[in-house]
């Protein structure tokens, strides 16, 4: 194909092509970075917590009645509350815990253990025995908590913990974690690992989303309690509506906060949803707009060159030659734009990464974007190029 003459001819319409090249370049830069951001948000969203997120509800209470100052009263009340919760149809399991999936934080500590150099950080939650049935994960190695694990006296030294597989791997590789001892940062308060849960993820400010220690204990005191409740599939709504009235009937001297974990998760990902929605819309509109722009420029190119097309036809160009000519010209413009766009894509990525988030551009995305815009460019030229093939050769003999 005649690249040389086409390129040389295009040099005389430099400015016009420059604009469309710039447009394509920016489009590639935006599309690739937008897709990159979408993928990043999606990866975060698809991260499995390991929990039965859709069927979890929590109810927290804060007391204002004076009787809550009495610890034995609270102890008895929580038992009553538990019975009330379990009496609601559709409740599968319930536990007291300060841990709520997808709240985007929680509590953590710094720990030490033999076999791991230095200290490590992990999330840490106390929970009652039924916690794993409640969040919907299995203790896959060792055993779950039993009632006697919860020390009646807080100073009791026979303390145990159940940790996540990811943490065990980090600490001891593939060695058996059961029976290992973890102490606090100062080497005191030892806890023996009695069980491992495979799945755990809860986003945290530090990069410790997969690292957790559960310790048996009361997740309530005179200032209130949090219940986490797992329902039968689909029973979330009915359970949710009954929780507050039932517990209010047990003791009205407190206020409640009820929320589903699905809502928490939604709230946690609201920014991501905005990004995905906005970026998807921008990509679609942008590709559409660029297509319109290429259609406009190529129709203009054809309209302006009717006489030239007729001459070429007179000199022996077939319709296919004319079609090829315009497609090739567009392909060159698109390619020039895409080459510039690759620089733009990485440039914009550097700008976004340095100032903002930390998602590096992947070359597959750039390649994919180029293919998309190549196809987009060619497809948008076809209408004008087809029109060009219909120019009759006899135009050549028409004066002016």
């Amino acid at each position: 194909m005649p690249f040389g003459p086409i390129i040389r001819a295009m040099r005389h319409n430099r400015m016009r092509f420059a604009f469309i090249i710039l447009e394509i370049a920016i489009t590639l830069a935006i599309v690739t970075n937008a897709v990159n951001m979408i993928l990043d948000e999606r990866t975060k969203m698809l991260q499995k917590s390991g929990f039965d997120d859709d069927n979890l509800v929590s109810i927290a209470y804060q007391p204002f009645a004076p009787e809550f100052k009495d610890e034995s009263y609270v102890e008895a009340l929580v038992q009553k509350d538990m019975r009330a919760i379990h009496s609601i149809p559709g409740v599968k399991a319930a536990a007291t815990t300060y841990f709520l999936p997808w709240q985007g934080g929680g509590s953590s500590g710094v720990w030490k253990t033999d076999g791991f150099n230095g200290k490590f950080q992990a999330q840490r939650y106390s929970a009652s025995g039924e916690i794993f049935q409640t969040i919907g994960v299995k203790v896959t190695q060792g055993r779950a908590f039993v009632e006697t694990d919860t020390p009646a006296n807080p100073n009791d030294t026979t303390r145990v913990t159940i940790i996540s597989r990811a943490l065990a791997k980090k600490l001891w590789g593939n060695a058996n974690p059961i029976g290992r001892v973890i102490t606090n940062g100062e080497g005191a308060a030892p806890r023996t690992v009695i069980g491992i849960i495979d799945d755990f993820y809860n986003p945290y400010a530090w990069n410790i989303g997969e690292f957790v220690l559960f310790t048996p204990g009361r997740a309530y005191d005179s200032s209130g309690a949090v219940f986490l409740i797992r329902t039968e599939p689909g029973a979330v709504k009915s359970v949710l509506s009954q929780l507050e009235p039932r517990l209010l009937a047990v003791n009205p001297g407190r206020v409640f906060r009820v929320q589903t974990i699905a809502d928490l998760k939604d709230r946690y990902f609201s920014g991501g949803k905005l990004v995905i929605g906005a970026m998807t819309a921008i990509i679609i509109i942008l590709v559409f707009i660029t297509a319109l722009g290429i259609m406009g420029i190529s129709s203009l190119a054809v309209a302006e060159r009717t006489k030239q097309i007729g001459t070429r036809r007179a000199l022996g160009a077939t319709r296919a030659d004319i079609l090829k000519h315009f497609l090739l010209e567009n392909w060159l413009v698109t390619t020039a734009g895409l080459i510039l766009g690759v620089i733009g894509a990485y440039g914009l990525n550097v700008l976004l990464v340095s100032k903002l988030s930390d998602v590096k551009m992947q070359w597959e995305l750039v390649a994919g974007g180029m293919v998309l815009l190549w196809i987009n460019g060619l497809a948008s030229t076809v209408p004008a190029a087809m029109r060009a093939t219909l120019v009759p050769p006899s135009i050549a003999t028409r004066s002016v």
Partner: protein, 437 residues
């Protein structure tokens, strides 16, 4: 002349309604997307205290574990808040013109039983200077004074909603509010105050709103107030009880100072360093000397309160507008070139090259403004959708500044799209066209 050019512009735009609506639609699309996301960014990133934020400084000290940085992977990191004991010592300085330590807690408000059940409410615990430092607006009364701080007196500041709920919106200064088991005298009622960020609390990120109730800090040791904000510790307390917590190395307070001059900033930094060096002699602060006295704009940036995605969206949306604008060049070229005969007549009749150029620029700007206004009104709707999606979204709106920016952008977009086609048209000599036609 401008009036005549506007007239020609309107005539010309009316002549080809399809092209004209494509042009206006293109600009409108670019403006509505860019305005929406620039406005979103603007809401969260605009200076909450213009002219003042550069004099407010957030104080941090690295009192973390000698063996391990605050963020283990980043040896330069330091705790995001300060300890109670360090705050107490540092606040003895008279270098800052104002200063406050602050944290968030939750208390039960016990309204008159006739009004309603008790309810839990966020309470911010602050020193008297807080209100003046952060330009807190009052409808009735004001903050408390230093004597109320010192005692502390049982005084309280409530926001408008609380005032509405408890006192029906009347001037409640002098009346009392019961929190838990104590009565506090209302000294001030806030005017409506809804900053998009809780800018005095950088550790909480985007989302939580300013607290409805404010009480004196010095109740903290007396009432053993629990923080409902973050608290970061790296070693256990020496002993049990609240006093041990206060004496510990646990970081849980936000500490702000007002330092209006460079000299004071310099002096206060020195003072903080000297304090830490002195503490090192007493066996604390085992890590290398590292203190930060950071201005409010810098701390907002450093803590990334505004999600990076909001900025990314703003950047991308401006590029989007540029594409929309570039896209119109082709259309305009076609439109203007088709008008060459008319132009050459005008040129032959004595219109100067510059006049022809301006004629086309005026036409593009008419398109730009029309598209801009349409885009602007669409973005009002788009922002409403965005506000529903993000936390604390009800603060999202278009202010006068953003409307101005949006109109400016549409003018720039019109110019960007029109300048080359206009130049092309005006550079065509009149004679040639007349002869050929």
């Amino acid at each position: 002349m401008l009036f005549y050019q506007l007239k020609i512009a309107f005539t010309s735009l009316r002549r080809n309604p399809v092209i004209t609506s494509l042009l206006i639609g293109g600009i409108a699309l670019g403006i509505c997307v860019s305005t929406t996301f620039i406005a979103l960014r603007h809401v969260f990133e605009k200076d909450p205290l213009p002219g003042k934020s550069n004099t407010l400084f957030y104080v941090r000290l690295d009192n973390w574990d000698p063996q391990r940085a605050y963020v283990a992977e980043d040896p330069k990191s330091l705790p995001t808040m300060v300890t109670y004991r360090d705050m107490r010592e540092l606040m003895k300085s008279n270098i800052p013109t104002r200063q406050t330590a602050t944290f968030r807690t939750r208390y039960f408000v016990h309204p008159d039983p006739k009004i309603g059940r008790p309810y839990a409410e966020d309470v911010r615990v602050v020193f008297a200077d807080f209100f003046a430092m952060f330009n807190v607006p009052f409808q009735y009364g004001g903050g408390w004074d230093k004597t109320a701080d010192a005692k502390p007196e049982q005084v309280i500041v409530i926001d408008q909603n609380t005032n509405q709920k408890l006192f029906g919106g009347a001037n409640s200064v002098g009346r009392t509010v019961r929190l838990e088991d104590r009565n506090y005298k209302v000294v001030g009622v806030l005017a409506p105050w809804n900053p998009p960020l809780r800018f005095y609390d950088p550790t909480q990120g985007l989302g939580p709103k300013v607290e409805p109730i404010y009480m004196p800090f010095n109740f903290t040791p007396i009432l053993e107030i629990q923080t409902f904000g973050n608290s970061d510790g790296w070693k256990g307390n020496d002993g049990n009880g609240y006093q041990a917590f206060l004496n510990s190395d646990t970081c849980w307070l936000e500490y702000w100072v007002e330092l209006p001059t460079a000299e004071k900033q310099q002096a206060f930094r020195q003072y903080v360093n000297n304090y830490v060096i002195d503490q090192k002699r007493h066996g604390r602060f085992g890590r290398p000397l590292h203190t930060e006295v950071t201005s409010m704009p810098d701390v907002t940036k450093e803590f990334g309160i505004v999600p990076p995605q909001i900025r990314s969206l703003a950047i991308v949306s401006v590029l989007f507008l540029i594409v929309c604008s570039l896209n119109l060049i082709g259309l305009l070229l076609g439109k203007f070139i088709a008008r060459i005969p008319e132009i050459s007549v005008r040129r032959a009749l004595g219109a100067s090259r510059l006049q022809v150029f301006w004629q086309h620029i005026v036409e593009c700007e008419v398109v730009g403004i029309a598209g801009g206004l349409i885009g602007l009104s669409i973005s009002v709707g788009l922002l409403k959708i965005v506000a529903k999606v993000i936390p604390n979204g009800d603060v999202v709106h278009l202010d006068a500044e953003m409307i101005a920016v949006s109109i400016f952008l549409s003018l720039v977009a019109g110019l960007l799209a029109g300048i080359y086609p206009a130049w092309r048209v005006c550079s065509i000599p009149p004679a040639m066209q007349l002869k050929v036609q």
